[in-house]
Amino acid sequence: MHRIASGLLGGLALAALAAWAPSVHAADTIKIGFIAEFSGAFADASREMDDGIKLYMKEHGDTVAGKKIEIIRRDTGGPKPEEAKRLAQELIVRDNVDFLVGFVVTPNALAVADVITQAKKPTVIMNAATSIITAKSPYFVRVSFTVPQVTAPLAVWATKNGVKQAYTMVSDYGPGIDAETSFKNAFEANGGTVVGSVRMPLTSPEFSAYAQKVKDLSPQAIFVFVPSNDQPTQLMKTFAERGLTTSTIKIIATGDVTEDAVLEQEGDAALGLITSHHYSYAHDSQLNRQFVAAFTKEYGALRPDFLAVGGYDGMAAIYAVIEKLKGDVSDPEKVMAAFKGLRIESPRGPIVIDPETRDVIQTVYIRKVERVDGKLVNAEFDKIENVKDPGK
């Protein structure tokens, strides 16, 4: 009896110690909730983002200013705003995260706006590209890009390079309509004329009707925006099949259409395509070469693309802020102040977080699809620096 009692007491003491120990440990850990769409159509994109995050942490260690960084991953299962909101709530209330990061698609990012405002939780958007997101909460910071930010410079470049007429083809959803509007505004403001436009259903797998229509109209140029999962390959192949890619019609698009991860699959159909974007895998800088080499060494299968860079730079921003605040991220207002005006050298080039809008200011590159060393790449040949998001 005596032995049992002392055994029980000892066990209880041990359990108490074990329960206490993590909470002591917790004060030295900064937790980051990473919400992305790991299953479904955006699984590859989420994986790229995740690999970018992991690579940064591998290169710079998982400790900053004496604090250990812990990433908690959560899967929304696709564009499911309700799920994203629920996961954000759980991460904030139950797991006590200090930051939220991630978001490949806009609806999920928008869904957490109310939650993070109420909880005052700094949130770094690593991809979702619709203008309005950062305006929805003062705790949003974006390190990726916005669709208008990469579209407007393309329209301006086009007018400066002899393109007077354009026909726009976009996917019928938020970012697509954003692209259509910002292209039209910038193009017409610089003397161009939009001769027609079409919005294609997001789930449309079959582009023959649209390609035929464009061919029959035969405009001087076509501006295309489709989201970068399965649509670009099908669209380009349909164009190529009808001879549109080899005709005199100039095809210009945002970089989503020639996204590094799917470019090889599009094959020769994509050669000569002129696009605008903020990141190309072939960007000629020391940092990018190191980034690409390290990424392919660790994660082989897919090329690093703008999603990987979004993840990588998001972590860079967080690390920089933690160092600036010497590890004390308990005051959300101080954290947000530290983000504003932050300058980072990214594999894409230099980026700055706009102090007023908390959105990213960066260089937009004009690229052409070329074959270099037997591989298809987006070769940058022109750039426009310090582009702010025109949607604000």
Partner: protein, 287 residues
């Protein structure tokens, strides 16, 4: 005028693809009364099989087509024997639940085995490109699809009307008891029909890659279109499926060409109109 002919041509090709994908389901749903929603999953498997054979075994695309047909057909009999047979007498809801579950499992398995990116098909050079008589663009691949669809339609009708197996099938469908009484092995006939239907789905999946792409979500994306064709055409009718597929294919392409703002909605509007006119489908036998 050339625009209209071009649209008709493209629509016909798309319709042929829908026909090959759907005819198996129409036949099995009509004959066996079994709601097999996993039909589009069989199509997806056929597509992935074709891709694997091309990429791993270096086979030419055309050679992979009959193999996709045979192997997916054979593979489907495993499901039929082990799972479907238990639910022949069960309610439709149970059948739907089972087959939807199979679809989800197949989607996840394909994503795991092949990744979530788009798959490529290595077309032989003579199937790529187009020729343009009188200003109409006739793509070679689409011509090929039309040819394949026509051959399959003719073969199915011939098989049903002129062969002994076809006669046995028609007898078993009209009056199962009488057929059994005459010594026809109804179970074997149905099983073989199911295998042929699923094999055709697999063939359709392989043919679809170049037209509409292939990724693990193919099964769920195309289930809707297949069910559209089957419900409009009428269960159990090859001719009905053919007419419905061609009609819907042309409506879809024509709608997107002439009324792009309405775009994908046209195909659903046509479906609603046709079903209001003929609730059992164009050539359906039951009401």
């Amino acid at each position: 005028m050339t625009h209209l002919l071009g649209v008709l041509f493209d629509g016909l090709a798309y319709g042929m693809l829908l026909f090959v994908l759907s005819v198996g389901l129409s036949v099995t749903m009509g004959l066996m009364g079994f709601v097999n929603l996993a039909h589009s999953a069989f199509a997806m498997l056929g597509g992935y099989l074709s891709v694997t054979l091309m990429q791993r075994a270096g086979m030419p695309f055309l050679a992979t087509l009959p193999i996709a047909f045979v192997l997916v057909g054979a593979f489907s009999t495993i499901f039929e024997r082990t799972l479907y047979r238990r639910l022949y007498l069960a309610g439709e809801l149970d059948q739907v639940l089972l087959t939807i579950g199979l679809v989800l499992m197949t989607v996840a398995s394909c994503a795991y085995l092949w990744g979530t990116q788009q798959q490529e098909v290595n077309l032989p050079p003579y199937l790529f490109g187009r020729f343009s008589p009188f200003g109409i663009d006739l793509g070679y691949y689409r011509l090929f699809l039309i040819a394949v669809g026509a051959v399959i339609a003719v073969a199915l009708v011939f098989g049903l009307e002129r062969t002994r197996f076809g006669a046995q099938l028609r007898a078993a469908v009209d009056n199962q008891r009488m057929a059994r009484g005459l010594g026809i092995d109804v179970n074997r006939v149905f099983a073989l029909t199911f295998a042929i239907g699923s094999g055709l789905a697999g063939l359709g999946g392989a043919l679809a890659i170049n037209m509409v792409g292939l990724d693990p979500n193919f099964a769920t994306k195309y289930l809707v279109y297949v069910l559209l064709v089957v419900s409009v055409g009428g269960l159990g009718s090859v001719g009905g499926t053919f007419a419905a597929a061609v009609l819907l294919g042309i409506s879809d392409v024509a709608g997107k060409y002439y009324v792009p703002e309405a775009g994908a909605f046209i195909i659903y509007a046509v479906m609603v109109a046709l079903l209001l006119w003929r609730p059992a489908g164009l050539f359906g036998r039951r009401v």
